[in-house]
């Protein structure tokens, strides 16, 4: 994943072939490039007259809020994610195994659901303040209440609690793969246990931390639900009010593109910062380092500490939703359409996952074949869909998709076939939108997996007569399947929770759990949405548990894992 490394000393001849792979990755990069190009065209149509107003009154403050949010969430997710990963990797204590997958559970809840749950829980009428009033002997919230959570601090805590698993997941995989020999060497040289964390494990995990934090930050930046609930006005919300309230789509596209350039710039700077670093260890010395067994109160402390993020990031909000759903069920009963909504949700999520993972694997492999060439850059381009707010991506996609649908329809009418809207009408457009949005996860997962495969194996496979495709299927894919499967599950859960694209380009009469939930929230009847929210959480838990088993699998069979993520 690092840009232009030092391997310029002539690529081996077997890498020179395979221009078909460049073509493939170019096609893949076209997917997210299309909406960006279409947005750029839109932005050119606008006048620039709203900018003085924006620059004077909106952007300075929105930018400040965005930066504060990103710094806050970034620090929070890095600290909690790395800390939790180290806790369940470097120590052994009762409950550690369960904790190692429980820590992933916040991934299963959409951010807007958590925001709603916390708003309700901490409201003066909610159970927390109610209990405090009861203990202090007050009767009404007018006599005593705590400060409102709406605001920046609340937003940072809330997003941090939901997003830290992105860091935890990436960093833990890296910790698990780290060679015990390195740790032992450090210990023999007199480094303390915590010193190992700060001076060996964490620096080696830097690419994983960067990956996890950047995924979390892009989620935070593009979040609209929670920020809207909590009244934090980020740049993303300015994009919205420019577009929706002032009906100025070109203006909104201008801000969105400016934001995209900034994000891409920041990611590039981080990569540049570690351009000379390699994160590889010898391929044969793989032996996971021994976890230290804790007993007594130390074990209890470790368990309690590790349980905190699970409690606040999952148990409390999910428990609240379950309680609401229960009340709703006993009050109004079960609504019929929810079964078909589950079916639709699982179907589109699965289809999108397959596409994202396949495209991601091809893009990452092409980048490996030609690390210094166009394919590397194209593989990077293919991930920009993640850096733009969901609705903006879809708005950008509407024009190209409409053009394709129009072309199909006119071709069809030449042969007397009424095709209707082939892409939008079938849901294919929706799947495409998901692909654009989440390709970054697919590419990132495949890159991380491929990075574990030593380059010597490519050579070996090719010497034995395999083409690039054969080597990919027979050598790389089996070796990288853990990371790719992890990416697949992450994509599945993300697609299931996705809202803006789903709302805008799904076919007629097609509802998913997320759209059902939104429809109820839009009416202000969140309670009615509680059942849908609970099912989203329930359906999301399964892939999340699978995800953690992949992590454990790496621990057990860590034969190839000494080469850490991002060897290149």
């Amino acid at each position: 994943m690092t840009l232009a490394l030092t391997a310029t000393a002539g690529a081996p001849p077997w890498r020179a072939r395979g221009s078909g792979w460049v073509a493939a990755v170019a096609l893949i990069a076209l997917l997210p490039a299309a909406p960006v190009a279409s947005l750029a065209l839109t932005s050119l149509q606008g006048s620039w007259e709203s900018w003085p107003n924006l620059i004077r009154y909106v952007l300075p403050d929105a930018a400040l809020q965005s930066v504060a949010l990103l710094v806050g969430v970034g620090v929070f997710v890095a600290a909690v994610g790395c800390g939790a990963a180290w806790l369940v990797t470097a120590y052994e204590f009762p409950g550690r195994r369960a904790l190692s997958w429980l820590l992933l559970l916040p991934l299963a809840i959409p951010t807007y659901v958590v925001a709603y749950a916390y708003l309700d829980l901490t409201h003066p009428l909610g159970p927390i303040q109610g209990a405090i009033r009861w203990m202090l002997g007050y009767h009404s919230p007018r006599e005593f209440r705590l400060p409102d959570i709406r605001g920046m601090t609340g937003c940072i805590l809330l997003l941090g609690l939901v997003l830290y698993p992105y860091v935890y997941l990436a960093v833990r995989a890296t910790f698990l793969g780290q060679s015990g020999a390195l740790v032992e060497a450090a210990r023999t040289l007199g480094v303390s246990r915590s010193g190992v964390f700060w001076r060996v494990a964490l620096p080696l995990a830097r690419p994983a931390v960067a990956l996890g934090v950047s995924l979390a930050l892009m989620e935070a930046l593009n979040d609209v639900g929670a920020s809207e609930f909590l009244g934090v006005k980020t740049v993303t919300l300015s994009v919205y009010s420019t577009w929706v309230t002032r009906s100025d789509l070109p203006g909104a596209a201008q801000i969105a593109l400016a934001m995209l350039i900034l994000v891409v710039g920041l990611v590039a700077i981080e990569r540049w910062g570690r351009r000379r670093q390699r994160f590889a260890a010898g391929a044969r010395s793989a032996r996971p380092f021994a976890a230290r067994r804790l007993t007594g109160w130390k074990a209890a402390m470790a368990l309690a500490l590790g349980a905190l993020p699970v409690l606040f990031g999952f148990a409390l909000p999910a428990g609240h939703i379950a309680n609401e759903a229960w009340k709703r069920l006993s009050f109004a009963g079960f609504s019929g359409p929810i079964l078909s909504e589950i079916g639709n949700t699982v179907m589109v999520s699965a289809a999108a996952t397959v596409i994202v993972v396949a495209l991601g694997a091809v893009a990452a492999y092409a980048a490996r074949l030609k690390p210094l060439g166009a394919s590397k850059l194209l593989a990077r381009v293919s991930t920009i869909g993640y850096a733009i707010p969901g609705t903006v991506v879809v708005i950008g996609l509407l024009a190209p998709i409409g053009a394709i649908d129009g072309a199909i329809a006119s071709t069809g009418s030449m042969f007397g076939v009424a095709t209707g809207l082939a892409l939008v009408g079938s849901g294919a457009a929706l799947t495409l939108a998901y692909a654009v949005r989440f390709l970054a996860i697919g590419v990132g997962g495949a890159e991380a997996g491929l990075a574990r495969v030593p380059l010597t194996l490519d050579g070996a496979a090719r010497t034995l007569g395999d083409g690039p495709g054969g080597a990919f299927l027979r050598v790389h894919l089996p070796l990288a399947k853990g990371s790719i499967a992890a990416a697949a599950l992450l994509v599945f859960v993300d697609v299931m929770k996705e809202l803006p694209a789903t709302l805008l380009i799904r076919p007629l009469n097609f509802e998913t759990l997320a759209t059902h939930l939104y429809a109820e929230a839009a009416r202000g009847t969140y309670e009615d949405g509680a059942i849908a929210a609970l099912i989203i959480v329930a359906v999301g838990i399964l892939p999340v548990i699978l995800l953690s088993r992949i992590g454990e699998g790496v621990r057990r069979t860590s034969e190839s894992s000494a080469t850490l993520a991002k060897t290149r």
Binding site: R150, T245, A350, L508
Partner: protein, 340 residues
């Protein structure tokens, strides 16, 4: 690998579904930003009566953009939205068509429909004051929201929400931009919490002691006080009293939900029939009873829960004139940092 094949079969199945969906010509296709729960009873009644099935897709932002992108092949027949600003936008973006229908013209007062027949209001809602029950308040002017006596006592949703931009735009129409700015600054200074959340939260926050007064739409009062509402919402509804505020030199600010016929509507005849049915006495009664909105049709009665709030005297400023100030209103919200 069997998995991509499954994905391919999903895409193919989808394509087949698309071809068959367009083959069913008797349907009307509705694109709406109104929540399905609110309009489903209306559509079910239409289907029962006429046998014409209504296919819906409910969206949030970008309805006009989607119709534009779908172009000549768009299956959309009826576009349904809340907020007159959005309806005016539909017309300006060129995704609607003019229709003339004696039934629509008779049933909808002229200030509640486009003068060229591009869009029609179907229901009306008022932007009203929710106040703590024990407050001694009989009447209220929107202008008083900036009175320093309410410092830290006012709750309201985001200033950029269409309901509030419409209110501010109406204020500009009455008093001009300069006074509107001063007023908005005053309201901002009075806020008891961030301008965020929804209208129901205002009632909830009044019960929770965060605020004393706030602004919300009229139908939420009915929804919260309805015996069908969840018990805790009934408590919010009972914790407030409702005043229909007015402008000093005008009436109560109202907004509408409405609909338009899409420019490339493939089933125009049935689509117009649907609109005409929505202003029939039966359907207007559903708007009143089920949604607690004010019917547009002269003579149709609102629900008792709404009628008891008082007699509505809608502000006289034409909706189109308010819509013209919308952008200015949105920029004022930014300028005074209302949502910050």
């Amino acid at each position: 690998m069997p998995i991509p094949r499954r994905a391919a079969s999903f895409v193919i199945a989808g394509l087949m579904a698309a071809c068959c969906a367009t083959a069913a010509r008797a349907d009307v296709n509705l694109y709406t930003t109104r929540e399905p729960g609110l309009i489903k009873p209306l559509l079910d009644a239409f289907e029962d009566k006429t046998g014409v099935k209504v296919n819906t897709v409910f969206m949030k932002d970008g309805l006009a953009e989607r119709v534009l992108a779908e172009g000549a092949n768009s299956p959309a027949d009826v576009l349904m939205m809340v907020d007159f600003g959005n309806l005016v936008d539909l017309k300006e973006k060129g995704v609607t068509q003019a229709i003339s229908s004696a039934i629509l013209d008779e049933s909808i007062p002229s200030q509640l429909r486009d003068k060229d027949g591009h869009w029609f209001a179907l229901s009306v809602r008022a932007r009203v004051l929710y106040a703590a029950k024990d407050l001694d308040l009989k009447s209220f002017k929107y202008e008083q929201l900036s009175d320093p006596k309410w410092k830290g006592k006012v709750c309201i949703r985001s200033g950029q929400h269409p309901y509030n931009t419409a209110l501010i735009a109406d204020y500009i129409a009455h008093h001009g931009a300069e006074k509107a700015e001063a007023w908005l600054k005053g309201v901002k200074a009075n806020l008891g919490r961030k301008a965020a959340g929804g209208d129901r939260d205002v009632a909830k926050d009044i019960l929770g002691g965060i605020c004393d007064i706030g602004i919300g739409n009229s139908y939420y009062v009915g929804l919260m006080r309805s015996p069908k509402a969840p018990p805790e919402q009934q408590e919010w509804g009972k914790a407030i009293k409702v005043v229909l505020p007015t402008f000093e030199n005008g009436g109560t600010q109202v907004n509408v939900s409405g609909a338009a016929i899409a420019k490339n509507s493939p089933n125009k005849a049935d689509a117009v029939k649907l609109l005409e049915y929505l202003v029939s006495d039966d359907e207007q009664a559903i708007y009143a009873k089920g949604n607690y909105e004010y019917p547009v049709k002269p003579g149709a009665k609102p629900d008792p829960l709404i009628a008891e709030l008082g007699t509505l005297t809608p502000d006289k400023t034409p909706l189109a004139a308010i819509a013209a100030h919308r952008k200015e209103a949105s920029q004022l919200v930014d300028k005074v940092g209302f949502d910050q």
